[in-house]
Amino acid sequence: MGCGTSAATEAQGRLSEKDDSVKAPSPALTMKAAILIQRWYRRYVARLEIRRRYTWSIFQSIEYAGEQDQLQLSSFFSFMLDNFTQISGNGPDLISHLLDPALTEEEKQATFEGVEVSDSYSGPHISFPLTVSDTNALLSAFKAQQILHARYVLQLLYETKRFLKQMPNIIYLSTSYTKEITVCGDLHGRLDDLLLIFYKNGLPSTDNPYVFNGDFVDRGKKSIEIIIILFAFLLLYPDHMHLNRGNHEDHIMNLRYGFTKEVMQKYRTHGRQILQLLQDIFSLLPVATVIDDKVLIVHGGISDMTDLEFLGSIERQKIKSVLRLPKSFEDVEAERGLEKICGQAGSLRSAGGPSGGTRKRRCRRRKPSSGSSSSSSSSSSSSSSSISSPRGASQVWSSPLPSPRVPSPTDLLQLPFLDSIVAVASLAPPREEAGWKQIVDLLWSDPKKQDGCTANTFRGGGCYFGPDVTRRLLQRHGLQLLIRSHECKQEGYEFCHDGQVITIFSASNYYEEGSNRGAYVKLGPDMVPRFFQYQVSRCTRKLTLHQRVSVAESSALKSLKEKLFAHRSELMAAFQEYDVNKTGCISITDWAQATESVLKLDLPWRTLRPRLARLAPDGAVEYQSCFEDVSAGQPVPQISPNLAETLYRYRTDLEIVFNIIDKDHSGLISIDEFRQTWKLFSSHLNVDVDDSAIDDLARSIDYNKDGSIDFNEFLEAFRVVHKLDTKEKQQG
């Protein structure tokens, strides 16, 4: 083996001699044995560390790729909203559905007073003004899996809205009256984590103030419960409970990431009212908190344009969602029509160009180096806020859109759809745009290690800010520390920028059981942060490092395999390009390149290869083996493989749209609505689906021929199944 001069050689010789000897081993020998064991064990841990890292990369890439998708979806909605008044002749107004859950006149007039609490309701009762017994009742009830009656929810939300209207954009706190302030990060609907924090740290009270730094909702299953608890404490202790807005306190994000669905499922009758109120409340949440004029707390981060004085003056409630332009811009858009943007702005965002073919997703985490940051900001020297932002500078205009009209099915495929950028001439009030930018930066930015400020193309919004940006901002405002959340961290918290920035994240096991701890931080008048970590656990036995890594890893790999499956035809085409002799095998390098170019996920493919694809005896990759572990749930006979693949890929998006169209939550939509939505959707995505295929599809899933489709049943057919799971189930 040619081991060179490492100690192993000596040990080898010595150890084999030792076998014959009877006396106790010499100290030198035991030391060599110890070194060998230590070295071996450390190698093992290093391997686990590598696996843990790439598992993390997989989760993050897929998560952020999803957020990019969300921006696509929201631009689709925006476009529809601004260009079509009605999709189906006499059906409900689809567009107003999509973004503003259109309330009927009755619903608008109704307040919580009209909502009756029947005698059969067994959940908690609360009364206003709230007292400690109300918050205790809520906590006990939620621990017991109960649901708060819609009436109380609505009342709570009305009161919260009223309260928040008086709040400024930035809240200034002081530790002089209390011992310590506790700051918590993202919770994402994980009630267990919130309860664990309260258990360890005590409930909010006048002696125990809290700041919750955004992202209370989405992903987890108990978002509404968390919101209720947080708002209840907010009303109960208005001077000691503070909430910052996060990027998920946004109704468009909620459509995709589960909060909207959760609310509609738990509150069938009043869900839309609740969501409407929440939309307003989210935009009324303060965007920053400052403690003792020394510590700034925001959800995402900052940019080189962040200006606290200016921030204090903008009208935050106008920005319902940062994913849609502020209202005053929409009129301008509608007048001018929407164009596809070529050139600088377009190159920064999703690369779905005018060419047909499948949609490309900008999931890369590639950050432009400081030199090329000009790609994100045409005119200004700063490079913040790359989400669909109206650009003042000159833009390239392609030929104008046909005037808005109700499209007939065959026309749809020709309409030029917006990808992600909306260009508006410099009619946009610069002040409003600037205010909107400030908020996007606060809610979406991430810190980076190198100096400078560049557009955050990974997430699609906000920017990456370096230590110099932090330093300058802190100096300018006489601050010492920036506390932010937004990014999941292994230990629940992390320092960066020479200790000037703390990331605090409070949802443990965020990606998977055992993936990370949650944490909160306490600050006293001395401004020395103290961290407290925890991890919610289902099992009582402590998992070994290997077990923790394995669980998270297998979950990440499953997600990745599903992605491979969902892009099967593109991948096969790419592989076959390399496989000139049609052997079914290509080199590892070619396989890695092909996979990366199709999926656009920046992952270490060569390192992952052993887990994804098999090698032939000669060391080449048998590329078909990528798809072996995942298969279709139930085959839907009428559907061509291509169409099936597309449906797998966009399953989540379709689900969102269907749920929105299904105004009465019956689970059924009309065939016409199904057809129209699908066509619009597929043309937006530049997916080549032929009309008759859609019609056949629609007819085939209308099982009882009554003109309506049970879309949940339809979507069920497009779940993927992991073969290993099935095998395990069969065996165990």
Partner: protein, 162 residues
């Protein structure tokens, strides 16, 4: 011969790609640099297990003249390629590991008491930290007997590796 040269080039090329991949996992900023503290992990992930002392020597070779806390890929690649080509710091065969444990098991019991093992691993050689020791115990300790059956432990770890 030309074939040999080709295969040598191919080998180097494969090695370069392996190194690039491992490096990229830790290159959080995508600018071909990694934190110096990750170098040990990267090297070990490539199948080389230098001792802590040997690791420091490698780091000395790859770091900048004025240490910045970051290692650049251009410096790392040639050094690491040499390490891989020369098969330095090679893997430890299972039987050797067994013998190492047997050396520590002076009474030839077939198992080790946690205290015994702890004494050796935290005080001798390149000592384990407390966390490392605890982590090993959580994987190695038989929950019923509270001892380490090192034969089983070694076999298990070797299987888990794949």
């Amino acid at each position: 011969m030309a074939e040999e040269r080709d295969s040598a080039e191919a080998l180097v090329s494969e090695i370069h790609k392996k190194i690039t991949d491992a490096f990229e996992v830790f290159d959080h900023e995508f600018n071909k640099t990694v934190d110096i503290r990750e170098i040990g992990t990267i090297i070990r992930s490539l199948g080389c297990f230098p001792s802590e002392g040997e690791l420091h020597d490698i780091i000395a070779e790859v770091e900048e003249e004025e240490p910045t806390g970051y290692i650049h890929f251009e410096k790392f690649l040639p050094v690491m390629t040499k390490v891989l080509m020369e098969r330095k710091f090679c893997p430890i065969p299972e039987h050797l590991l067994m013998q190492a444990f047997e050396v520590l098991d002076q009474q030839k019991k077939g198992f080790l008491e946690p205290e015994e093992l702890k004494k050796h691993l935290t005080q001798e050689g390149e000592p384990f930290t407390r966390e490392e020791m605890e982590e090993m115990f959580s994987a190695a300790l038989d929950p019923d007997k509270n001892v380490i059956f090192y034969k089983d432990f070694v076999s298990m770890m070797t299987i888990e590796e794949t």
